[in-house]
């Protein structure tokens, strides 16, 4: 969105300059955009790296960023992109198609990173400086969404002459901010990119992300003026934050949804009636009220409303104790059973959810114990499927449901259907088909069928959709979070 900025940075006024401090519970892990999965890393390097496309503010589509336009061949296998001109890396070198080819090839070649998004790509070519040609192995409709992902961001060719490791220690990109320093575990600071192609941006002089693990400390730092933005304050603190005079609280629509996951390798969760009974027994309204303090909506699908092809009409199971008992009676364990909920210690949502579930399931004769392990161990146990019932959530990275759907319902995709071992051949077949379907109506049909079947199979208990909460100083303006979780700091200004 060019030209809409009111003035250049040099023209003064309250909006120009300033050092923004963002406080967050966890530090970034790495700046390697092709490998890293942590949001706290992604949100930082996205201020430095830009891709050919970017997600639109509503999260449902993509628009060109470093690309200007594209054309798709009739066989739907060859994509030709024209690059934006006049874009420079922060080291002064101009961005060319060679850089794009280098970047995409690197992104595709990683192992255990985000390369799965690029599996359909057969080759990347750079016929001239301003043109990039991508060939896919088969028709692949999510390609633009995939290219918009940060792992496909454009880096300088050959890492500007550095080694891979050295490059990521002080990365170079085309973005509005440039690398300054990182005290691991404490803070990362980025400085304004003075030669940013979108003239007049950014307004800020620098951005610092500080690690403040304690919820309250983050809040008081906003109040005390030591920080301006608090990344994801817990919902429980929103009420008191709203009461503070110079603090603003925003809830940005998100693609976040929470699930109760049930491991079908463990008896009796292989029994669909048991899963349904549990799904029915979850009082989602009450959870939204107590856990989210009303800031959310019950989930009816494993996809979220801000994702394309979400089906609002999916008959997700809703709270109904009578039906839950009926299902229980039909199941292999009509008199109940005992089970263990795997929870992360220190995670207040997990703790509360576990306790709520514990008391609901009691009515079904299910004796649920809570096993608290620390988050790291909980992760492990989930991924190794050494659990019976547990909690997890998902946030979209791209503007296409394929990423999540594959992950969640295709047991061969490496994640054993979100670590539940859910395996429904019909659903899997529909998923594959949807990847190669280009027309919107066709895809909608397939994805609706998938959502419906998954809900019916109750392979997970869908809980609720919740927004991204942010608290920030009233001095901050122009701050917006996209449904995929990322934000653009080039539009942010700091008043005095």
């Amino acid at each position: 969105d060019n030209g809409s900025t009111p003035s250049t940075s040099s023209s003064g006024g309250a909006a120009a300059g300033g050092d923004l401090v963002i406080v967050r519970p966890q530090d970034s892990v790495s700046m390697d955009n092709t490998m890293v999965f942590s949001n706290s890393s992604i949100w930082v390097f996205q201020q430095m790296f830009e891709s050919l496309y970017e997600v639109t503010p509503d999260g449902k589509d993509v628009k060109p960023l470093l690309a200007e336009s594209h054309t798709l061949s009739a066989d739907k296998l060859t994509w030709t992109f024209k690059l934006k001109q006049g874009v420079k890396f922060s080291n002064g070198a101009p961005m060319t198609s060679a850089d794009v080819k280098f970047s995409l090839d690197k992104a595709r070649a990683t192992k255990g990173g985000w390369e799965f998004l690029d599996v359909a790509i057969k080759s990347v070519e750079a016929p001239d400086d301003a043109t990039v040609v991508i060939k896919t192995k088969y028709p692949w409709s999510p390609l633009l969404a995939d290219l918009a992902n940060f792992n496909n961001a454009v880096l300088p060719k050959d890492y500007a002459g550095k080694s891979h490791d050295d490059f990521y220690k002080a990365p170079i990109g085309t973005g509005p901010f440039v690398w300054d320093h990182w005290n691991k575990g404490t803070e990362i600071e980025l400085k304004k990119n003075p030669t940013y192609w979108d003239a007049g941006k950014p307004a800020l002089d620098s951005v610092t992300w500080k690690v403040v693990p304690d919820d309250n400390s983050r809040n008081v730092q906003i109040q005390g003026g030591q920080a301006q933005i608090n990344e994801n304050p817990p919902f429980s603190t929103l009420e008191q934050l709203k009461g503070q005079p110079n603090v603003k609280v925003d809830l940005f629509p998100s693609t976040k949804t929470d699930y109760v996951m049930m491991n079908q390798n463990e008896k009796p969760y292989d029994d669909v009636h048991v899963r349904r009974a549990i799904s029915y027994a979850i009082d989602r309204e009450a959870l939204v009220k107590t856990l989210l303090f009303g800031n959310g909506t019950p989930a009816n699908s494993f996809l979220m409303p801000n994702v394309p092809f979400y089906d609002a009409a999916t008959p997700g199971l809703t709270y109904d104790m009578a039906k839950a008992k009926e299902e229980m009676a039909k199941s292999s364990v009509p008199n109940g059973f005992s089970t263990t909920f795997l929870a992360s210690s220190g995670d207040s949502t997990d703790q509360a959810l576990a306790q709520v579930l514990q008391s609901s399931l009691k009515e079904l004769g299910i004796d649920m114990k809570i096993q608290n392990v620390d988050p790291s161990a909980a992760h492990d146990l989930q991924q190794e499927q050494k659990y019976q019932i547990s909690h997890s959530y998902w946030t979209m990275d791209i503007a296409d449901p394929d990423e999540l759907v594959t992950f969640a319902v295709d047991p061969s995709a490496g994640s054993h259907s979100f670590y539940t071992s859910y395996d429904n051949p019909q659903v899997i077949a529909d998923t594959k088909k949807a990847q190669q379907t280009f027309d919107t109506a066709g895809r909608q049909e397939l994805y609706s069928a998938i959502q419906k079947q998954a809900a019916d199979d109750a392979f997970m208990g869908f809980l609720y959709y919740s927004p991204f909460s942010y608290a920030y100083s009233t001095k901050v303006s122009g701050f917006q979070v996209y449904p995929t979780g990322n934000y653009h700091l080039e539009d942010v200004t700091l008043g005095s």
């Binding site: 255990g112 691991k184 575990g185 404490t186 690690v211 304690d214 008081v220 005390g224 790291s376 146990l381």
Partner: protein, 313 residues
């Protein structure tokens, strides 16, 4: 010179202790379920990626072999590399150590500033009202969880009165100083009850002793009797108490740093534990252990400096 040799000997004699500690730390942390690679690589990590990371940090080798290489590196002063941050543990420690040291020193100084006058007041007004009050009030402090005190102090002194920064550490020494006051006070408040009582008790013992009576018989002023003849001798026994408790409070930096968002070793330790960053946990514990050893050593030196009867052997 005599003291230097002693310090040398003491440091040498802590080597077996540190070795023992390294064994405990190493095996304990490896007993904990959880895999740093999976934590690091996230939900979509492939088995190959995990294996690659394991290989990089030697996590795929038998545990005793890992220990030996850990020891080998330790002998060269190399604490290993953080798995999470892919940085030398020693450089991480160098970043974090200052805040923790500031905190401990501030806490100790404040504890002394609070305790000494109060203990003197109590001991010289023995069994009077002042004494009763001075003895009773810290008892309340004894039962207060440090993190809770921290929260309350932030609420009262930082947010309501705006006297101090609410948390963080600042950039310049002056900012460090103002940032460290509240957390230091939090720890000091936990330290004072014990310190006041021990100092008061030993002062009473000293005040009753013949040499203080002698000093009074000499006709010296009350002030001189207290400063020259009482405090130093009372400090002799209290210094050990102080040492033991500072060592104990090194542990409470874990919580206090968290409450006050200080970028110290305590927060790093908690993070590292949560992320199974073995090398960092090992490094931090070793440094913590070294700090305790150093505090004990300083205690002994101070003890010897205060009391000529002590032979450093």
């Amino acid at each position: 010179m005599r003291h230097l040799a002693y310090v040398g000997r003491r440091l040498v004699s802590t080597i077996p202790v540190l070795l023992g500690i390294s064994v405990i730390v190493f095996f304990m942390i490896h007993l904990v379920p959880g895999d740093p690679a999976r934590t690091l690589l996230g939900v979509r990590a492939t088995d190959e990626a995990v294996a690659a990371l394991h290989a990089k940090f030697g996590l795929d080798r038998p545990i005793w072999e890992q220990y030996l290489s850990f020891l080998g590196r330790l002998l060269h002063g190399d604490l290993g590399r953080s798995i999470l941050y892919d940085t030398d543990v020693s450089s991480l420690l160098a970043l974090r150590l200052p805040a923790t040291l500031w905190l401990l020193v501030a806490a100790t100084v404040m504890a002394l500033l609070i305790s000494i006058p109060l203990a003197v007041l109590a001991a010289t007004h023995r069994d009077k009202l002042a004494d009763q009050v001075v003895r009773a009030v810290p008892l309340v402090g004894l039962g207060m969880p440090t993190f809770w005190v921290g929260i309350m102090l932030v609420l009262l002194l930082a947010l309501k009165v705006h006297a101090f920064p609410v948390s963080g550490f600042g950039k310049t020494p002056a900012q460090h100083l103002s940032s460290i006051i509240l957390p230091g006070l939090t720890i000091a408040l936990a330290l004072t009850p014990i310190l006041i009582r021990s100092l008061r008790t030993s002062m009473i013992g000293v005040l009753d002793s013949d040499y203080v009576v002698t000093a009074r018989a000499k006709g010296l002023s009350h002030r001189r009797v207290i400063t020259a003849h009482t405090l130093r001798n009372a400090a002799v026994s209290s210094i050990t108490v102080l040492g033991v408790n500072i060592a104990y409070l090194v542990g409470s930096t874990l919580v206090v740093e968290r409450v006050f968002a200080l970028p110290g070793m305590g927060t790093m330790m908690l993070d590292a534990i949560f992320n199974r960053d073995f090398p960092v946990v090992q490094g931090v514990t070793l440094v913590f252990a070294l700090m305790v050893v150093a505090v004990n050593l300083l205690t002994d030196l101070a003890h010897a400096a205060l009391d000529p009867r002590i032979e450093l052997a």
